[in-house]
């Protein structure tokens, strides 16, 4: 049996607020195999970030069980089985770009020379080599996001959790980084859970696309893309690709279309 990177059974999350409980997520059944690339897609507020936070053990699940590589989420966090990029960059303002990228390496005791080399490599990857000595407040929004991506990749984790990592990037940079991400995931055999609002991006990158729906946040459909492993420019032009994109769009807009038109 293939090891499961993520195994969520009946997972739900409720936030208590002063006007009563908010059900952010309910009855989530989701498995992500090791090395598998899964995208989460769904309207704003449907619980994508919440699900990612549960997997990362940043919040405890209210119901259900959640296992990461066969162990409880909290254990996986302690074992550093994943790397995460948040929806906001979340850079430490008093550290330079290099310092921010190096943070996890530093915390986990990588020696200084090795660290410097790795940081240089990562800065190159996200196209910020010239900016390593800058502070976050001197960067553009997209640059900050790229620093956060580099930081998440720093330790080559077995599981990557990415919350709209390419949201603030232009098309070129985005496509380039999409390519790099799939390459890195393939090379390191990492599983990826990827939140995005871009249907083409989800289809292009993923083995499976998880479509979610809000109020309460839940999974409505899970689509296999069935595309083979080579993700290149040619794929973006292929008919299967368009077909999948349309399929996801339909799955996604089933209900929301009506909702939007109601107004």
């Amino acid at each position: 049996m293939i090891e499961l990177a993520v195994n969520a059974r009946g997972v739900g999350k409720t936030f208590p607020t002063k006007d009563g409980d908010v059900v952010a997520l309910t009855e989530v059944e989701l498995t992500v195999e090791a090395g598998e690339f899964v995208s989460l897609i769904g309207p704003s507020g449907c619980g994508k970030s919440t699900l990612l936070r549960l997997i990362a053990d940043l919040d405890p699940a209210s119901t259900g069980t959640l296992e990461i590589f066969g162990k409880p989420a909290s254990q996986a966090r302690v074992d550093q089985d994943y790397g995460i990029a948040f929806q906001q960059a979340g850079l430490l303002p008093w550290r330079t770009v290099a310092g921010n990228i190096a943070l996890p390496l530093e915390l986990h005791g990588m020696a200084k020379p090795a660290r410097a080399a790795r940081v240089a490599e990562l800065a190159e990857l996200v196209g910020l080599t010239e900016f390593v000595d800058r502070y976050p407040d001197q960067l553009s929004g997209g640059m900050q996001q790229r620093v956060a991506i580099a930081r998440a990749l720093a330790e080559q984790p077995r599981l990557l959790l990415m919350d709209e990592p390419f949201g603030a990037l232009d098309e070129m940079t985005r496509e380039y980084l999409q390519g790099e991400l799939t390459r890195i995931a393939a090379e390191t055999g990492a599983a990826v859970v990827f939140v995005t609002h871009s249907i083409p991006e989800a289809v292009f990158l993923s083995d499976r696309v998880v479509v979610m729906s809000p109020r309460p946040g839940r999974i409505t459909e899970i689509l296999s893309t069935g595309l083979d492993d080579i993700r290149d420019e040619a794929l973006r032009e292929s008919p299967e690709y368009f077909e999948r994109v349309t399929a996801v769009r339909e799955a996604l807009h089933g209900i929301p279309v009506e909702r939007a038109n109601e107004r």
Binding site: L58, D59, P60, Q88, D137
Partner: protein
């Protein structure tokens, strides 16, 4: 305030009341053991039991003196805090004001009460409480000013931009953004200031002014061998400090704000 999984795990609320009381009791027990049982403490440190007896016996005059010192401290605290907030606001908005105030505030912060009180008493007359109130005000001014000024500079760039792009006036920005951001700092400052105001009002009594208030009594009785009576007055001072602390804590709780996301 929201609690995240990252927050230190919060014990139930009743602990909030029980914990300080427990600590107080522990301190008391150690004290009693040291003084009454082991008899290891210096003579000037009386037993809490003796202090309590004196307090009960003399509660009439002690409470009267507490009233005087507490009102001096309160007047000083309020006046000092208001002046501090206003000046800090000016300093935060205008670099010249900031520059001009900086050395003066630094100087005020370090004038010892010993030096200050006689000067103020000579300037404003030694027969009123004014000198003591001003000493308390000056003492309270410093931590509030320093903290508020720092706090006023902690607004986030993006929030400053929001207000600027709304052409908010200086006063509006202050009310809507700067003050809320600075509130936790103000609270730190007030919390420090409240106890410093009490001690300043109390210590100022040694160096002139009407022969009333807790400080005068502490000095008088500490120097005449009535350590337990002196400490009964000290307990009175502590009671004032506790009340001030509780009030500032309440204030802090009332204005506690959300952390930026």
């Amino acid at each position: 305030m929201t609690t995240t999984s990252n927050a230190v795990r919060t014990p139930p609320v009743w602990v909030r009341v029980v914990a300080p009381i427990t600590v107080g009791v522990v301190i008391l027990v150690i004290w009693i053991v040291a003084v009454d049982v082991v008899k290891a403490a210096p003579r000037a440190l009386p037993s809490p039991i003796a202090i309590t007896n004196e307090f009960v016996l003399r509660s009439g005059i002690i409470v009267e003196d507490m009233g005087i010192t507490a009102s001096n401290a309160l007047i000083g605290l309020v006046a000092g805090a208001i002046v501090a907030i206003v000046l800090a606001a000016l300093a935060a908005t205008s670099r010249p004001v900031d520059g001009m105030l900086a050395p003066l505030v630094a100087a005020i912060a370090v004038v010892p009460i010993v030096a200050l009180t006689p000067i103020l008493n000579t300037m404003f007359g030694a027969s009123s409480q004014f000198g003591r109130q001003s000493v308390a005000a000056i003492a309270a001014f410093v931590p509030v000013f320093v903290n508020v000024l720092r706090g006023l500079r902690q607004t986030r760039p993006v929030h400053r931009d929001v207000l600027r792009s709304s052409a908010a006036t200086g006063l509006q920005t202050f009310r809507v953004l700067t003050l809320p951001t600075a509130l936790p700092y103000l609270m730190s400052g007030l919390r420090i200031a409240s106890s410093i105001a009490v001690i300043a009002a109390l210590v100022a009594e040694y160096f002139g002014g009407p022969a009333d208030g807790i400080g005068t009594a502490i000095a008088t009785y500490a120097k005449s061998g009535r350590a337990s009576l002196a400490f009964a007055y000290v307990a009175g001072g502590i009671a004032i400090g506790l009340v001030f602390f509780l009030v500032t804590s309440l204030l802090e709780w009332l204005v506690s704000r959300r952390k930026p996301v």
